[in-house]
Symmetry: C2
Subunit: 196 residues, 2 copies
Amino acid sequence: MNRRLKQQIDFILEADKLKNVIRRNYLSDDSRRENTAEHTWHTMLTALLLYEYAENKQELNLLHVLKMIAIHDLVEIEAGDTFMFDTEANKHKFDRENQAAKKIFSLLPYDQGKEYYDIWLEFEKEETPDAIFAASVDKIMPVLLNTYSKGTSWRESQITAEQVLTTLKVIEKGPRKVQELLEELVAIAKEKGQLT
Amino acid sequence: MNRRLKQQIDFILEADKLKNVIRRNYLSDDSRRENTAEHTWHTMLTALLLYEYAENKQELNLLHVLKMIAIHDLVEIEAGDTFMFDTEANKHKFDRENQAAKKIFSLLPYDQGKEYYDIWLEFEKEETPDAIFAASVDKIMPVLLNTYSKGTSWRESQITAEQVLTTLKVIEKGPRKVQELLEELVAIAKEKGQLT
């Protein structure tokens, strides 16, 4: 196998480790916590389904959005999952994850590694229309699973409805329908006593 | 929430069950068997990375390929994972999975459900360039994980190198580089005694 393909295979095998990174939230059947690899698939699927609600489709590139989601959490292999409501851990999150991104994407051939590092950075900054759409869908996923399960990860940390709405502020810049969905889910969760 | 969005959310929550469908092969670190949701993400990531090897890019639509991979295994929620080397179980696989596909995609709003059912059928038939590319990548994934782990799922069933090459025949129609990769992986696995 030539060097280029070898580098790609090494990267693909390294990416396999994302299946062992465990997130805070549980699956909708409460059976166990979710891992980041399956979360990423679920987010890509949801992005495909909810794309129709984007009001700015002429500014979006859905393929680019999917690339972005596919790789956005690979840094967790090195940096671990950071609970979104852990203010302290989130202070240095970008620096830790940026180091991790440089490391993991450097496994790829230089041109491809640079392409994906740039895509990762674009996602993190949440400035471009593609990044805002991708981040909106990414952030709604644990809210969906929490609301339709027992919401254990919220209960464990006594998360409030206000905290969810504030922390997921990027959704306000995404499709109006996703923002409405967020508000509705939070109201349901509050009523069920899963958010205080 | 209006009826359309409600149907989409129901589908997304149903899809969550794919995280509990367990495949035969193990992760590359041998720690446990892989689930189908994380396999799907890994396949989408690999499709993005190996797309450069497609010789017929003008016939391919990478976004369509990703849609296809994203939903190709959802039928396993109803029909279960079918081990590719189980000849008996594969006889009625299409019928079982077709029933499952009709059921799961009917959760979606009609137009979207039809779009994804048609995409699923296209994948299953392995006739269009997009379906052949998607199937090639899908089929190389367990070979990669088996070769670079202890190959437990192959050993358990005493799979031969010839069986792998015959069963994964669709790869011959995909990118030459993926076919070469398959042959190389099989040779490595044979040398390691993971295939007989």
